[in-house]
Symmetry: C2
Subunit: 322 residues, 2 copies
């Protein structure tokens, strides 16, 4: 079954999709965020919200019910909180669709539909959760709202693989050495981003850096930066700006202007400079996060080599009970 089959199955089973709830944890939740944003931006008939699973479980939304579509993802497949969320949602009458990299795990128990995806270096973006969920949402909106952007989105998702493959060596070349040097000189730094890309601002911080590199850092919404965090800015404080290419770009540009004035330690990764400007603005707003995810992976790899810290090494996850 491909993404269009999954969408058709949802539409066959539900009279009307009123709410879409995206429920997962950490990196798996982050992948679902662009599709959550897309619904709220484009659909007049659906409202979307995203939850870290344990908060969903302790206080399920009052509107959760038979017109709710609950899309969950557990990359490993046995994330306790996410599997609990599937059960809670199913018991409330919602349509549950799981996603996992591992067939036969608890999220792929057969109790609800579950899409099992590959996660290899050459897996195309259309076959990974972020791309899949965007395409799924486009089909739902096309059927329910007459949304006409699905073709452009699917074309954009298909273009990502080439753009990313070309960008990786360029970003390593342009930013790699300086990023390593700045990480060596700073026990801590700030990462800024906005709009749908903010999920990968968060992801760069909590997954690529905190989890995989034990690098202390903080993620800041670039619009919110002007309402508090800017006061920390001064020469010697390191800021990494994810400059997006879509409709939220003015927020990032404003942050860049301020940072260029008030710190001497700024690194800007501009997706428009690495091919994202080739896509429609309406589409690239939601595809930028996928671009930034791959650059996060790239930069953590470069840092990992320089620091002799394998990004796959963990001291707690999968090793101790908690």
């Amino acid at each position: 079954m491909n993404v269009h089959d999954y969408a058709a199955q949802v539409l066959d089973s539900m009279d009307h999709v009123g709410n879409v709830y995206w429920v997962a944890c950490g990196g798996s939740m982050i992948d679902l965020y662009p599709a959550d944003c897309l619904i709220n931006a484009k659909s007049p008939s659906m409202v979307s919200a995203i939850f870290t699973a344990e908060e969903f479980n302790l206080v399920p939304p009052a509107a959760l019910g038979e017109d709710s579509l609950v899309i969950t993802c557990s990359h490993g497949g046995n994330t306790r909180e996410t599997v609990d969320a599937c059960r809670i949602a199913r018991d409330k009458g919602a349509y549950v669709l799981g996603m996992t990299n591992n067939a036969g795990t608890k999220i792929d128990s057969g109790d609800w539909p579950c899409w099992v995806y590959e996660w290899e270096d050459d897996t195309p973006q259309s076959e990974r959760p972020a791309g899949f969920s965007l395409a799924l949402v486009c089909d739902l909106m096309a059927a329910q709202d007459g949304y006409t952007g699905a073709d452009a989105m699917n074309q954009g998702i298909a273009q990502l693989d080439g753009i990313i493959a070309q960008a990786i060596p360029q970003v390593v070349n342009d930013l790699g050495d300086r990023f390593v040097e700045l990480c060596k000189r700073h026990d801590f730094f700030y990462i800024l981003g906005s709009g749908p890309t903010f999920c990968q601002t968060y992801g760069f911080a909590i997954c690529s850096l905190m989890e995989m590199q034990w690098q202390n850092c903080c993620y800041i919404n670039a619009a919110e930066y002007f309402h508090g965090p800017l006061e920390c800015t001064e020469p010697g404080v390191f800021y990494f700006l994810q400059k997006s290419s879509g409709v939220y770009r003015p927020i990032d540009e404003r942050a860049q202007r301020f940072l260029e004035t008030y710190t001497d330690t700024l690194m800007v990764l501009d997706s428009a400079a690495y091919g994202m400007d080739q896509l429609d603005e309406a589409v690239r707003t939601y595809l930028d996060p996928i671009f930034f995810y791959e650059m996060n992976v790239t930069l953590r790899g470069v840092r990992g080599k320089a620091f002799d810290h394998d990004p796959d090494y963990r001291r707690y996850m999968g090793k101790v009970e908690y």
Copy 2:
């Protein structure tokens, strides 16, 4: 006009409240978050979402329209992004209700209803934006959903003033010196919280510490902590846990157990130990953020004195153009 009058005016003007959008920036946005959470937890007929204003302005929700209630807050009254949001929402046919501390400012232009609040040391919580918005939402849900929790909520809001007044000197005594000492020894630390309280985890970071103390730090959702950030934990890394007293408490307890095992530098502020346990669990879940706000103010004051850094001093806000 009191909060019930504002609620009655909304209900008189709107046939049905379908969406509630809370739109503001920084600290003013943070104050609206508990009411956003309350709607989604309790109302089967309304869906609520919260936005930093500039993201709302660049991509207004597709569902924004005549059944939308848009509640905005600009403490100073002239926040450009927030005033723009009011205009955008009004032009889409939404019912706009502003809030500000300063009468006659741009948000209080007369183009939409605007509640002007006091913000003195002795202003009761019921007359501040967080308490006001919770009470407003209770009235809307009582009318539209038959919600029966309004009396308990209003009683809880009234109890907060006494609980907070009693807690402040105790928290200074119990945590003050050690908090200052830990800030002196750490250029950076992590703050953890969950559920509605997470807004004040964020607020402690971006307002009280980054903005008012130039103290680098990062805010982490205590449920998300287990899906990445925990790998940074080791002796010598400072964690501040806001332990909430309501239904999300198990998340915080789990984080506390892990932190007590894997770092030697933990500070826990447990709202239940300072009187919040006197309130109904259903109510205190949404009132904990107000408690933690006041403790954030208290701790930044203690730190400010010890560091000779007046929390009211700014180097950029209100001083330079951006």
